[in-house]
């Protein structure tokens, strides 16, 4: 063996590979495998026309997400349902955000109208309006695969951020606050 110095170095290759693999796996530990890359960030909010939850005569459409009818408002779109347990945890925080003046539009996803109305009556209604989507059609167009989900939509109706899962204070401060303030500033500047 001693006549092959290169062999000695080659013996370290598996060790180096193991360390590299270990490093890769270790760096993946923090990543949430449930979190999918979003296909819609940077895209316009999809077209739709659905009933309002509390007023079945009123139709909400994608026009409500375009600049004109929204008065250049930056909004959060929150997907929720009464069957969604995490939504219960999230709801009080949304109430708080609404009190701070953040415009939130609800998207009631694959739910029962009466149960949903009852839920809002009991827990408070942070939503400026709530889109009623019992079939989940808008859900499919948004790429929703579970509730809650929250989208930040700018004044032009373009989706700027998506959060799958509960939005709480930590997530708001980390992912939404700065971007939201920046978008609001842009919208008022125009």
């Amino acid at each position: 063996m001693s006549s092959y110095p290169m062999n000695r170095l080659a013996l370290f290759i598996p060790l180096i590979l193991c360390i590299a693999l270990g490093g890769f796996l270790f760096s993946s530990l923090d990543k949430d495998p449930q979190e999918l890359p979003s296909a819609l960030v940077g895209q316009t909010f999809p077209d739709f026309s659905l009933e309002e939850l509390n007023d079945s005569q009123r139709r909400v459409s994608s026009a409500d997400f375009r600049g004109e009818s929204k008065n250049g408002q930056v909004v959060l779109v929150n997907i929720w349902a009464t069957w969604c347990f995490a939504c219960r945890i999230e709801h009080p925080y949304l109430n708080g955000l609404a009190e701070q003046g953040v415009a939130i539009i609800g998207l009631n996803y694959k739910d029962n109208r009466l149960l949903a109305q009852q839920w809002l009556a009991e827990r408070g209604d942070p939503y400026q309006m709530t889109i009623f989507d019992p079939q989940g059609t808008l859900g499919i167009d948004l790429g929703v695969y579970g509730a809650p989900e929250t989208y930040l939509v700018d004044a032009q109706g373009i989706i700027r951020h998506r959060r799958v899962g509960v939005v709480d204070e930590r997530i708001w401060n980390k992912e939404f606050r700065d971007l939201y303030n920046q978008l609001v500033e842009q919208a008022s500047g125009e």
Binding site: P37, A39, I140
Partner: protein
């Protein structure tokens, strides 16, 4: 007898499971395409199942959507594009060859060639070390003159004959 009974029960149970999810098509030719699509599309919620295997609500919805799109006359490619524009590439179990996926496609072939290369190098090395082992150790004077004695030659011939016989 018992085996036949078991087989019968098994077949009946398959029948029952299959009937749980009846999909009607206006044109029966759409069915194989539907089966192929839902086998290749991944459930976004239950991540290690395809749409065909999963019973989660989102999979049920997406299966229905795939059926609807097929009825609308969309091609398989269009349906996949429709879903990836909403659920990202994640939904494809068979990823497209793109800038960030070429490694996935190349890696198995590259590893195969790497393996073959290593195998080749090892066999080469063995050949050369065999040669070295043979030359190791100086033969004594006697061996040099006459590597095998007459007796040994005879035994060797016997042995060779026997092994040849065995192999035939």
């Amino acid at each position: 007898m018992v085996n036949k009974l078991c087989l019968g029960l098994l077949l009946i149970s398959c029948e029952l499971f299959a009937s749980a999810d009846i999909v009607e098509f206006s044109d029966e030719e759409l069915r194989p395409r539907y089966q192929q699509l839902i086998a290749e599309l991944r459930c976004p919620k239950c991540q290690n199942q395809n749409l065909a295997d999963s019973n989660s609500p989102i999979s049920v919805d997406l299966r229905r959507q795939v059926q609807r799109l097929l009825e609308e006359g969309m091609s398989n490619q269009q349906i996949k594009a429709y879903l990836t524009s909403r659920y990202s590439d994640f939904i494809l179990y068979r990823p497209q060859v793109k800038q960030n996926t070429w490694f996935l496609w190349i890696a198995p072939i590259a590893l195969l060639f790497l393996g073959l290369l290593i195998l080749y190098r090892i066999s080469q090395r063995q050949k050369s070390t065999d040669g070295i082992n043979q030359s190791v150790g100086e033969p004594t004077e006697e061996q040099a003159k006459d590597p095998l004695s007459a007796d040994d030659q005879l035994r060797l011939r016997e042995l060779l004959k026997n092994t040849n016989g065995d192999s035939n």
